[in-house]
Amino acid sequence: MIVQSKPKRNGFFHWTVARRKVLWAYIFLAIPIVFFAYIRIYPAFFAFQMSLYDYNPLAAEQPYVGLENYEDLWKELNKRRSVTKAAFQNTVNYVLLGVPIQLCLALAVALMLNEIRFLSTPYRILFFLPYVTSTIAIAWVFRMLYQPQFGFFNVMLQLLSLPQQPFLNSPQQALPSVLALVVWQGMGFSVIIFLAGLKQIPRTYYEAAEVDGASRWHTFRYITLPLLNPSIVFLLVLQTISFLRMFAPVVAMTVQGQGGPLDATTTVVLRVYREAFQSFNMGYASAMTVVLFVVILIVTIIQLRFTTRSIN
């Protein structure tokens, strides 16, 4: 930016255009700057700080405890059995199960949707509708569908003469059952992203492939998949982060929002919520959010590395 003409007087109306533009830029940004500084950035530092205190909102004073909260967390994670340990394990399971299922399913659907013309738009909308529904509302619907005695799924199983399943009431089946809701709800979003990615692939590539007589699988493997890489990486990261932050479905689908049975569905964020707002161990809960932040940061950095790598 070059400001050459000198202002003759210091009055506002005699400023150069460039200077006035700078001033206006700051004026326009004033409220967003205050907002980000105070609502987004300062609280992040505050969370770090809280994690070093035995922070209890009921108390008049908050004693400084150094890294004790992190030590406690480490101890909990190394116990033979603890809710916190279960929460971290489950969260990893949600990511490891949920992300691949979500992406593969969405990619398959996108490829098929990309192929059809008739009914293409209504199908797209239908796939997308779950994404706009309230997770809490729809989690309750799923909870009812899973109800062992009168829920839809067991009614169907019975019609097909298959054994009845406990679903949410079984420590083994509960986590996949919760996951099914998340996949159901989130798939439409991934499908749209894939469709947009597919559209970015120049048609000439496919034409060339066809001339070469490449099979459908080869076309997919050597053209579609590599060229879809940005969308895949983007979704991979986005879905990983969203599974790391699981909360609402578990609260709505488990008895009294406890993340049961036997802590089989509880998540890190649910632990944070309970520790902070029901047990008032806000320092300890903050330490957990800091750990979550670090994990998400690492995932994001890996994303940046992948996406900046050029794709040929």
Partner: protein, 299 residues
């Protein structure tokens, strides 16, 4: 990557996909229809169940029939007259509107500034805004809670149980600013300079030139902001404690108590919270789908 505008993104979708692939095409297409139809049916089951249950009389709730034997509107009248659902509806609407209007204005204004102005510290400020995206909101919940209970501007005591208290984390969004910046870069500089020569104020340039040219993007952003806030759960759960301040998701969650899970009321509440949005989405589907594609592409 080429500039993508919402209007050209999906226009020739059908054509683009219909690249002539001779052999096995028909078989593959039939297969696709079969699989897709199966998945679509699976997707609609929860909606059907939800709506069907909302018309079941209480005596049929714990039975195994899929459709109501004696359909009734009782659940709807009970939910509307005997629960606080209408109030939660109003609260959700108010909070979502506050955020949507604020985001549409401030995000597009900030996007405009980042796209069209040069000023010292621009890069730093922009990166600082974007960096905030890296911090998961979960980490901010506890500080926000402490801030709300002892706020800097203590209007009427605390922010807990106020519309502002529920809305404040979402009134400006970094992702929206980023999206708007990408868009506003497409606004021709010549138009702005011509406006300046005509004596249009800087705010006028934004309001009368940049905004009209970016309406599709602002529209998509607004719809997303509305959806996001309408469905938001964890912060409204923490920021409210009195039932008359609950938003819909918080209220629906509280329907179930230790002694009672009123399934018929929950399903009715869920239907009422989900259906209007679904209708809006069907009407505005183009904007929404394009909006997602865009945010997705730009990451």
């Amino acid at each position: 990557m080429q500039t993508v505008t919402p209007s050209n993104l999906f226009k020739d979708q059908a054509r683009a996909t219909a690249v002539g692939r001779g052999r096995g095409d028909k078989k593959y297409r039939i297969f696709s229809y079969l699989v897709l139809t199966l998945i679509v049916i699976t997707i609609t089951i929860p909606f059907m169940w939800m709506i069907s249950t909302s018309f079941k009389p209480e005596s049929e709730i714990l039975r195994r029939n899929l459709f109501p034997v004696k359909p009734t509107m009782d659940n709807y009248s009970e939910v509307i007259t005997e629960t606080e659902l209408p109030i939660w509806y109003k609260n959700s609407l108010i909070v979502a509107m506050i955020c949507t209007i604020s985001v549409a204005f401030f995000d597009s204004l900030a996007g405009f500034v980042f796209a069209k102005y040069q000023f010292p510290g621009k890069r730093f400020i922009f990166i600082a805004f974007l960096a905030s995206l890296m911090v998961p909101t979960e980490m901010l919940l506890i500080p926000w809670f402490i801030m709300s209970s002892n706020p800097p501007i203590p209007v009427g005591g605390t922010w807990v149980d106020t519309y502002w208290g529920i809305a404040f984390p979402g009134v400006i969004t970094a992702a929206g600013i980023f999206l708007m910046r990408q868009f506003m870069q497409g606004v021709p500089d010549e138009l702005l300079d011509a406006g300046r020569i005509d004596g249009v104020s800087e705010f006028g340039l934004y309001w009368r030139i940049a905004v009209p040219l970016s309406l599709p993007a602002i529209g998509a952003l607004s719809i997303f902001t509305f959806l996001g806030n309408w469905n938001a759960f964890i912060w409204p759960l923490i920021a409210t404690s009195r039932s008359e301040m609950f938003t819909l998701p918080v209220g629906i969650q509280q329907f179930s108590s230790e002694a009672d899970t009123p399934w018929n009321l929950i399903m009715t509440g869920a239907s009422l919270s989900v259906l209007p949005l679904m209708i809006v989405v069907i009407i505005f589907q183009r904007y929404i789908i394009e909006g997602i594609a865009l945010t997705g592409l730009k990451g």
